[in-house]
């Protein structure tokens, strides 16, 4: 067995590598959407925009190369409610000027249950593109 040790892997131009037959996550974040919103931890995320109740935009440090991102996530249920694991998805109502998702932001993330947005204390999001 061989051991590969490296601090940085780049392509021959010095840019990001395309790993053949591997489809890694391009960005992720875990944040608190209650109180004064804060990011617990993240990867390839420059900032988070708190748009309104239960609606957020994840701004990426490095944009994805195409517009076809897959966004997945989950959120802890609202305080005082018995259910958990509410869905996180795209929310097209935040921006009327951009109905599609830009490559520089996982825009339009929302947490909702029965169509009602709510603030969650623990939201996790993955962006794959």
């Amino acid at each position: 067995m061989s051991t590969v040790k490296a601090d940085l892997v780049q392509n021959t131009s010095g840019g990001a590598t395309a790993l053949t037959d591997l489809y890694p996550c391009k960005a992720w974040a875990n944040f608190n959407g209650t109180g004064t919103v804060s990011i617990f931890s993240s990867g390839n995320v420059s900032s988070l925009t708190d748009n309104s109740t239960g609606k957020y935009t994840l701004n990426l440090s490095a944009s994805t190369s195409t517009t076809h991102q897959s966004i997945s996530g989950s959120a802890r249920g609202a305080s005082g409610q018995s259910y958990d694991g509410a869905p996180v998805g795209r929310n097209n109502s935040i921006s009327k000027s951009t109905s599609s998702v830009p490559t520089y932001a996982a825009r339009l993330i929302g947490t909702s249950t029965c169509g009602i947005s709510f603030d969650s204390s623990d939201i996790a999001v993955l962006v794959i593109a």
Binding site: V45, S46, S47, T49, N59, T66
Partner: protein
């Protein structure tokens, strides 16, 4: 954790509540270590994408690889202070129409974190204080 937040409003959507930009600690650390490309790299990508939106071809849009790679290969701009990093972040992550056009009132403010209300009961009615 950053001492700052950015409050901003969308001039094209006056009924939308004020928004709050929260910087990522990882990104802030990169900015203060001097690991960011020039802001023009991001603007160039955003311009290309906006053009695709305007021309109705955004659903099949793909960045020019040579421009996209500049995010990783462009010469770094050097270390920023936290305040400079926040200004860079405004220009990167807040729509250009918010900060590049002069309106009859400010559309964004960089504030201390403790100035942002923690009570979100009326979150959808937040406005930026003048």
């Amino acid at each position: 954790m950053s001492n700052y937040r950015v409050i901003f409003e969308d001039p094209e959507q006056p009924e939308q509540p004020a928004m709050v930009l929260v910087p990522s600690d990882n990104w802030l650390s990169d900015a203060m270590s001097g690991n960011l490309p020039p802001i023009s790299v991001y603007w160039e990508l955003q311009d290309d994408e906006q053009k695709a939106i305007d021309e109705g071809r955004h659903s099949t849009f793909k960045h020019d690889p040579s421009k996209w790679e500049k995010q990783f290969t462009a010469p770094r701009i050097g270390k920023l202070t936290e305040e400079e990093a926040m200004e860079y972040l405004v220009m990167k992550d807040i729509p250009r129409k918010v900060w590049s056009i002069e309106y009859n009132r400010p559309m964004f403010k960089i504030v201390k974190t403790e100035q942002v209300p923690s009570d979100r009961q009326f979150r959808n009615a937040w406005e930026m204080a003048q």
